[in-house]
Amino acid sequence: MLNIQKIRSKKQSIIALGSHIPILQSILDFDYLAGKEGPSVIAIIASGRKNVRLFWGEKDVLIPVYPTLAHLPASVKNEITLFLNLTSGRRVLSSTVELLDSLPNLLGGALFAENVPEKHSIEIFNKIKPGSRIKSGMTSGQFIVGPASVGLMIPGHLKLGAIAGTDAEQLMDSHVFEPGSVAVFSSSGGMTGELIRLVTTVQKRISFSLSFGGDRFPILTPVEAFLAAEHDPQTKHIVYFGELGGYDEYELVDLIKQKKVTKPIITYIGGTISAMFEKPPQFGHAKAMASRGEETAQAKTKALKSVGVKAAQSFEEFIDFVKKIKIKDNIPLPDGNPHVKRALRLLEGGLKNDLPYEGSTERSEGRDVQKVLSKMQQRTHALFMNSISQDKDGSVEIVGEEMLSMATKRSFGHIVGSMLLGRQLKSKDTAEFIELIMKLLVDHGPYVSGAINTMIAARAGKDLVSSLASGLLTIGPRFGGAINQAAQHWLEGVAESIDPDEYVERSAKQNKRISGIGHRKYRVDTPDPRVNVILTFAKKLNKSPYTLFAKSIEAVTTAKKANLILNVDGAIAAVLLDVLSQKEKISPEELQELINIEFFNALFVLSRSVGFTAHYLDQRRKDEGLFRLSPKEVGFAE
């Protein structure tokens, strides 16, 4: 059930399903103008990108995008309290059910799509009905506004959807940053905006507002909204725009009779025009078709009047009722507002008194707001976003630290690790381990492919950068690029908690090598001394599941063949995974992300650049001339 005070009492975090930029931007603009510390939208489910770039005030901000709900880190899942479903009508049922089944702290959400089958709306309605079981560990009782709804607005606190507009100026004009005491509801999204504007124009303010959507079976019913208004301590008055079709208003009549709704209500039920036609047209909304007498606007207005609701006969009377609401939201009328001046003249003198249209130019909030607004209207997106370095107060800052102080105080391992992760390292152990890797990988003899290519280029008379590049370009799946792939193996193995025998068997069946296992030279009886050094580091950690898994794989493979030992790549990958998860608190999802962007190979590339450069300089010093092979050394295959 919708409980406004509960939503108001805490900070809310929204997940958006699908990305509708103008709507999401309007939520961030609302948050920014309401003086919040950060965006309320914390995650987006969409395909294609990892982030959506939006504005936070004048600046750019990245909102993380996940391909599916399953990709959400647990911490984000737990933080989410509200959803905004922007997917198409066809996908609303399946995606909403998935949301309800996977987010434990969900209070509710809103459905934006039109064309949701009524059968699906009813299914969702039944799923969240208090008392119905959703899934083990999940409770029901959420509220869902929609389908075909512009959402829910709690002034100064929450904007969940397109409600009250999608540009900053509109939000300003609708005064949705100043909480008040009038609740506003309508099936129609447009009329919700219109009513908010109407109430604020006559100098009242909104306590909360929502649009049910024009479908036949809105999931959040008018009854639920009226009860929420009744129970909301801030709401003193209710303004409702209804339409012909359906029986919702009769349920409201019953609630009033039973004294379950006691706050004063003003309504207008649109669709009196329908009486004109023997066979009325389908009006704008799906439910707006009066097939029976009780469903007409006139009948519903009469029924509401009979229980004391101020049910207006015309929109004019409706405006009049709203003007006369007696509550203390009264805010002095701004003088000289050309808007108001023109409206008054038109109403009094008709078209003779018309002034040209000027648009809104002044607001009650005063000059500061105007300044913020004009800045927001002039904002443009940056071409790139980065989290590594920036100019600040005349000097360079690297991952948040002034460069000179970093150079003098921090170890090289710390600087490299921080920069590669895009944030300061939390632990000295991580810095130490990264430094160790950097040292260990610096060179591994002149016989390896990358070093040879560097030397060949150097002897061909190429310059430093070209020779180094030819060495670096050799790095790939067979040379130097195995750390990343090994990390993938260990991450998968631990995530699946698979038996090592089975893992090896599976790889063998698929005819796949396990990266990080096997060496040309070293065997189980003559181990690689570097590996020992690396593995010793894991002993510093409380837990080292990745290292244990890698070693258990080695135990299986060496039983088959003595040289199938854990090699340097495999050992680095395993211990680095453990260090990052233990010391840097990086989640498995984030580790996967690091693998996807080749973080683990980056260390090899950086360190070995030293080796390649050394080989280049060395060859240049020796200057032996162009290298060439003889026919004996390159055979010819028939």
């Binding site: 039109e114 507009g165 540009d167």
Partner: protein, 432 residues
């Protein structure tokens, strides 16, 4: 976007299939039809009209050679879609009533041991029960649930096999039906309601049906004489058994209405247009479901309802090509009127996400294209709209209207919504 009626032909084809029966009806148009068998036949108008019998839209017991004449008679009444079915003679005592309606609480079943054309006057004999919304079809072998007792009782009361009830409900769910009515439902044989098989299995050649293979049409003696089915138009994607072509066209549409319907079918946004009175004074180009009703209501409330020429609205942020096409069709419709000095009201509430600048760009382009015709008819245009980019859109509109001498008023949200209709009507009074 709403509940729509399937043609009786399509509805029966689907239902008979679901019941495991063979349907012998055939569709017909004034141009022709395929003869199903020898007859006699029933010929009915198939355009979703209620109370056909009383309106004289059904012809009974027609022999094969008389069909063309009967078809001609009904066509002359202004109808274009028909259905031909074998005549099922029966006794009025064999008529039943059965309907299903989807509601939030579940499926409401209304049934009566009586049925036929006078059911409205026998309302008190209609029972109403509700199958809870967790209804799902199960085969009878599964453990009983709370709905079973109800369906059991209905099948006994109506003397139809329990299987018929299950298959009907299953059909209702799978086809995303919103409302289904069988009236009359004719039950001819003595059937065993519990097991769903007729007691007498031999083939019956009823003298009443004159050669129609009764067994093929209904093995269990249950006949669906008249069937009305409303489906949820949004479910077409999920059922794939019916398409928009199977939906009843309720009246003859003008070319402009058809063009806008086509535009709507191809668009992400919603665009609708209904011609109400082609000689009306007040033409509207409205946006938003609720705001469009409010503005139309104002005409009615001021006693000008009959002058409303059309109703329609666009919403969901159409692009400027779409508002251009929409406006062109609206103007074409207007230009067919014999009257001059028509009022065009371009109105809408404060939009949430529809871009006013962009949508108005299309509208202005259409006005510009039809400038000469509009001027000749001395059209005045009244505009009231708000929303994203409103300043830009309204400024452009004001400029165009003033330059072309069609300016009634251009206003933003500072003007109360309904006032735009009022200003147009008052202005027309002065004109006259």
């Amino acid at each position: 976007m709403a509940r729509v009626k399937l043609t009786e032909y399509k509805a029966k084809q689907l239902l008979y299939h679901a019941l495991g029966k063979k349907y012998l009806g055939t569709p017909a148009t004034p141009e022709g039809y395929q003869m199903p068998h020898n007859g006699p036949f029933v010929l009915k108008v198939d355009q979703g009209i209620k109370g056909r019998m009383k309106k004289g839209l059904v012809e009974l017991e027609i022999q094969k050679d008389k069909l063309p004449d009967a078809l001609m008679r009904l066509s002359k009444k202004g109808y274009s879609q028909f259905i031909i079915e074998p005549m099922v003679k029966h006794d009025p005592s064999q008529e039943r009533y059965l309907s299903l309606e989807r509601t939030r609480e579940g499926i409401v079943v209304r049934y009566a041991k009586v049925g036929g054309i006078d059911i409205e006057s026998m309302k008190d004999r209609v029972e109403e029960v509700i199958l809870n919304s967790k209804f799902e079809y199960r085969n009878p072998k599964q453990a009983p649930n709370s709905n079973d007792q109800i369906t059991q009782k209905i099948s006994e009361e109506l003397a139809v096999p329990i299987n018929f009830m299950h298959q009907l409900l299953n059909f209702f769910e799978r086809q995303y039906i919103s409302f289904l009515e069988i009236n009359p439902l004719v039950v001819k044989q003595n059937t065993s309601p519990l097991r769903g098989t007729p007691l007498r299995k031999r083939r019956i050649k009823s003298p009443l049906t004159r050669g129609v293979d009764f067994d093929v049409e209904s093995k269990d003696g249950v006949f669906i004489l008249d069937l009305a089915v409303e489906v949820d138009s949004t479910a077409e994607f999920f059922t794939k058994t019916w398409t928009s072509a199977d939906i009843v066209e309720d009246s003859v549409k003008s070319p402009e209405e058809l063009a806008i319907k086509k535009l709507n079918d191809q668009s992400q946004a919603a665009l609708s247009f209904t011609l109400l009175n082609s000689e009306g004074l007040l033409w509207v180009l409205l946006s938003g479901g609720g705001a469009s009703i409010t503005i139309a209501d104002e005409a009615y409330n001021m006693g000008f309802g009959k002058e409303l020429a059309n109703y329609g609205e666009y919403s969901g942020n159409p692009n400027d090509d779409e508002t251009y096409e929409y406006t062109c069709n609206l103007i074409d419709s207007m230009m067919k009127s014999s009257r001059r000095r028509l009022m065009l009201i371009i109105g809408g509430g404060v939009a949430n996400f529809t871009d006013i600048g962009k949508t108005f760009k299309g509208v202005i382009k259409a006005l510009e294209k039809n400038k000469k015709r509009l001027k000749k008819k001395e059209i005045k245009i009244f505009v009231r709209r708000g929303g994203p980019n409103q300043k830009n859109g309204l400024k452009l509109m004001e400029k165009w209207l003033r330059e072309n001498d069609m300016y009634g008023i251009v206003a933003g949200p500072e003007l109360p919504l309904h006032e735009i209709m009022k200003l147009a009507i008052n202005s027309s009074k002065k004109h006259a």
